[in-house]
Amino acid sequence: MKKNKVMMVTFLVPAILSYLLVFLYPTMRTTFMSLFYVENITDSVLKWRWVGLGNFKTLADSTLFMQALKNISLIWLWGGVGVFLLSMLFAVILTSGVKGKSFYRSIIYLPNVVSAVAMGTMWMQYVYNPKFGLFKKVFEFLGLKKLAEVQWTAPEMLFAALVIAYSFGMVGYFMLIFMAGIERIPPDYYEAATMEGASVVKKFFSITLPLLKDVIRTNIVLWSISAVGFFIWSQIFSPLNPEPSTVTPMVYMYQLVFGNNMVVTDRNVGAGAAVGVILTVIVVVLFAITTIVFRDDKIEY
């Protein structure tokens, strides 16, 4: 038994240490820092100036930050609706007995294994290109003149373009999780329904959807976490001086703390920390809401 204890401690210590170092200590320090005015990120705690909730007030008064919050809410909502509908549709199609299921599944998931910088560059420089872009070519081919003339990378369309490109890749990820959920449902349920003469639509709403409740909940939480951390795609779609329509809280924080351009002039690391606290609170609140809404206990088969 004693031997076991020694082993358990030696095995757990590195993992716990890494956790303290990279998660627990930084999270606590950031939370603490959000209540202070900190001019330079390397300033020691002694130089911090207590401002209470002042940083949060500064953020609430900043139009750019409020725009950033609005942007991620819209990404969360519109991107979320699109991604969930499409990924659910694909998951249902691919689990309905189509041939070549694993081929389709692999291709649809593919964008997730490629560097987001590469994916983003493909969209921005090729698909949306006003001269030789794929969208232009396809819409011209289909005779949709109006759509072919859309300037996707112009400031007024940039946000929509960003959401579409980002969501395109995420569909595969959520589809995989939905598929795994659907495949756990015992096939007898569907067989019984088919024998009773239920239609495909009826089977989806009466069997699949209710039994996927906890999977949907997991996906909402995962989607929220990814929306909150939205960063690279903004950078690719609007490098140098960020276009306000693509600024997310992460980008705002980056400019505030590490940036060197004109968008955010007043440097205050404490406010950057406050952005972090706000985002974490958003994740926790969304998590709590989904837990309450989808309260149903775990389904056992």
Partner: protein
């Protein structure tokens, strides 16, 4: 009972008839279109990377034949070969490190009852929801005040620590499925618990470790934010950050063919890995998410 089985068999055979396939036709159409779009985008990028900028803009790709020099230019003039080696070093060392830290911890958490076990597991799961922004500022200030920015070791260490919680979470479910007989037999034969883990349990967990490592490989290879802040120097940049800075500079010099060649180089390693191991990668995603 026997009749029921028979009925099932007949029904199963019926499934492959034309009628059934016809019902599925709209479904085939939708997923095929989506896949076609993916192919078009990637295919065009690959073709364009062998062409010239002038040809890309005038829609006359390959009028002057193949141009592999785009790749030579991207690799050597624009340092992609350097970024590539950096990424390889970071990814290989980090992936090994992650398993060395996470596997023993996951083993203990999965198979031993002790006070605080549940708490530790919830702590590791909670880490999956902490946004990067919450940890980046203190890490930066600590690392800067120790004058350790722009060091390979620090970035690798960060990659290890950040990916440990997910890996533990994934491997716990895996270790739980292994039978207990092996440990009991090893204990009776006088094999110490540490040795039991390294010699018996770890090899048994190999499939799970491979799955999670492939997943970690893709994550670390594509990582952008940490590298942007901690390794933003030509000699240290991994491919994601390198490609980003290159795309920006190429937009000014107007070298689109070179830019697409760079995109292909960055995209290739994970793509090839995925081509051979897509089932494993997919198992990594669903294994991680479905239990949460």
């Amino acid at each position: 009972m026997a009749q029921k089985v028979k009925y099932k068999e007949i029904k199963y055979k019926e499934k492959t008839t034309w009628k059934k396939e016809a019902v599925l036709l709209p479904g085939y159409l939708v997923v095929s279109l989506w896949c076609l779009f993916t192919f078009l985008v990637i295919g065009w990028i690959i073709l364009a990377s062998f062409s010239t900028t002038k040809e890309i803009f005038s829609d006359t790709m390959f009028a002057t034949g193949l141009h592999p020099e785009n790749y030579v230019k991207a690799l050597f003039t624009h340092n992609v070969s350097k970024y590539f080696m950096n990424s390889l070093i970071y990814t290989l060392i980090a992936c090994t490190g992650i398993v060395c830290v996470a596997a023993p911890a996951a083993y203990v958490l999965a198979r031993f009852v002790f006070r605080g076990n549940k708490l530790l597991q919830s702590l590791f799961i909670a880490a999956l929801g902490i946004p990067a922004i919450m940890i980046i500022m203190p890490l930066f200030s600590v690392i800067t005040s120790m004058r350790l920015t722009n060091s390979r070791m620090v970035l690798i260490l960060l990659y290890i620590c950040i990916n440990v919680p997910f890996t533990i979470f994934f491997l716990i479910t895996f270790f739980k499925t292994l039978p207990y007989d092996f440990e009991e037999a090893a204990a009776i034969d006088g094999c110490g618990p540490m040795k039991t883990f390294w010699v018996i349990m770890l090899p048994l967990a190999q499939p799970g470790i491979i799955t999670v490592t492939i997943f970690n490989f893709i994550t670390v290879w594509n990582e952008y934010f940490m590298a942007l802040i901690f390794a933003n120097k030509t000699e240290l940049r991994p491919v994601a950050v390198g490609l980003y800075s290159m795309v920006q500079s190429m937009r000014y010099t107007g070298d689109w063919a070179g830019m697409f060649a760079a995109v292909v180089i960055v995209f290739l390693p994970t793509f090839i890995l995925y081509l051979f191991l897509s089932e494993k990668v997919i198992a990594g995603v669903t294994g991680g998410a479905i239990k949460g």
